[in-house]
Amino acid sequence: MRRSTMVAGGAVLGIAGVIALPRPSTPQQVAVAGNSAATGSANGTGSTASAAETTTGTAASGASTRAASTKPAARTVTGSLATDQYGQLQVKLTIRNGRITKVGFSTFVANDGHSVQIDQFAAPVLIRETIAAQSAHIQGVSGATYTSGAYQQSLQAAIDKAGLNA
């Protein structure tokens, strides 16, 4: 299903950040934050909570110290099915060299249409990456609408120029 989409690479540290979300506790955030740590009120949150907390700790305390003592093979940690008033969520983490390399939701079921929105609002992943454009091998750039004049200074203009000169 759609919710099982894996997010790799740069999203990793961010996922831990979201799971251990240190933000004001609004109902929307309880769905995920509650599963991992905050409320512990629902059935079956135990395993999910420990998986999330373990990996959060790994990411936060610095991967390099852990890397030496962890064997290089990737392993997958799947939390148990967590059920709360909003629905069911199962977190799946892939860990290599002590670092989370993939985070996904292997199961994401909501109780009703309203819960879908609440859960999915809580589920967005946090990304930490800034890429130097010249090394990204991109074919276009999306950004807030530029004027015809501002276009001349844009990355898209540089890409177009390369294409026009090809």
Binding site: P124, V125, V141, A144, G163
Partner: protein, 253 residues
């Protein structure tokens, strides 16, 4: 690949075409004609445009051009989908679908390229991209704070739109009080239709982080940059993971 840049709709429209066995020049000419026609019909500056006449109440329903009816319908749909956070009827000068027309026209123009038989094409209308082809296009999402950098790269099969008020400060209004509102630095939305992606992106910037709930669970995906510098994406956002992974590898090496 053939590249063409057309200045229309107040911006520069970049067109990149893989001709395949199609006639790229003819297809590009047709596509540009669509853009210019939209510019004429929906001009808010020209008193004689169909939009200006509609705004003055000079056109009866049966006199409205088919394109106007289509945009009116699309505007209503966008307003409903965004919970009223994108609303062409709540603009200072009356009904103003400008924020939607560019994406609508580009999406339609890309349809011309497809009908023209080219193998693949991408049209970038001032930062909003519609495309098609056998493989997704790699589209960078710009860093709102630095036009030379990207915050991520997305693999886009159909459309990607980005909104923010850093290019034209104060231009985004909250339809509910009609005051300038940019609760996010930037929002980018990927999906099947450029006009709706653009409407979602604008609504997200106006509404803020909470607006993610309105996008998620739809066939659209979003990535946002918050005012405090966080970057959040809906779980299905098509990030080019390989690029992010290699960037990680480079930085940790």
């Amino acid at each position: 690949m053939i590249t063409h840049v057309e200045h229309v709709m107040g911006t520069a429209v970049s067109i990149t075409v893989d001709p395949g066995s199609g006639d790229a020049d003819a297809a590009i000419a047709d596509a540009c004609a669509v853009l210019h026609a939209a510019d004429v019909t929906f001009s808010t500056f020209k008193a004689g445009s169909a939009l200006s006449r509609h705004r003055r109440g000079e056109l009866r329903a049966e006199q409205l051009p088919a394109d106007m009816l289509e945009v009116l319908e699309l505007s209503a749909r966008a307003a409903r989908l965004t919970g009223g956070f994108f609303d062409p009827w709540a603009m200072p000068g009356g009904f103003d679908p400008t924020g939607l027309v560019k994406g609508w026209a580009a999406q339609r123009a890309v349809g011309c390229l497809r009908d023209g038989g080219v193998a693949a094409a991408m049209m970038n209308a001032g930062g909003d991209v519609a495309c098609f082809g056998p493989a997704p296009w790699r589209i960078g999402v710009r860093d709102p704070g630095d036009p030379e950098r990207l915050v991520c790269v997305a693999e886009v099969g159909e459309a990607i739109a980005t909104s923010g008020d850093y290019e034209r400060p104060g231009e985004l209004l909250d339809p509910h009080d009609r005051l300038p509102a940019a609760r996010l630095v930037q929002a980018t939305v990927v999906g099947g239709d450029l006009a709706l992606a653009d409407a979602y992106a604008t609504a997200l910037v106006v509404r803020g982080e909470r607006g993610l709930a309105m996008v998620d669970g739809t066939p659209y995906e979003a990535v946002i940059v918050t005012r405090d510098g966080r970057m959040l994406a809906t779980p299905g956002f098509p990030i080019a993971a390989r690029q992010l992974s290699s960037a990680c590898a480079t930085s940790s090496a």
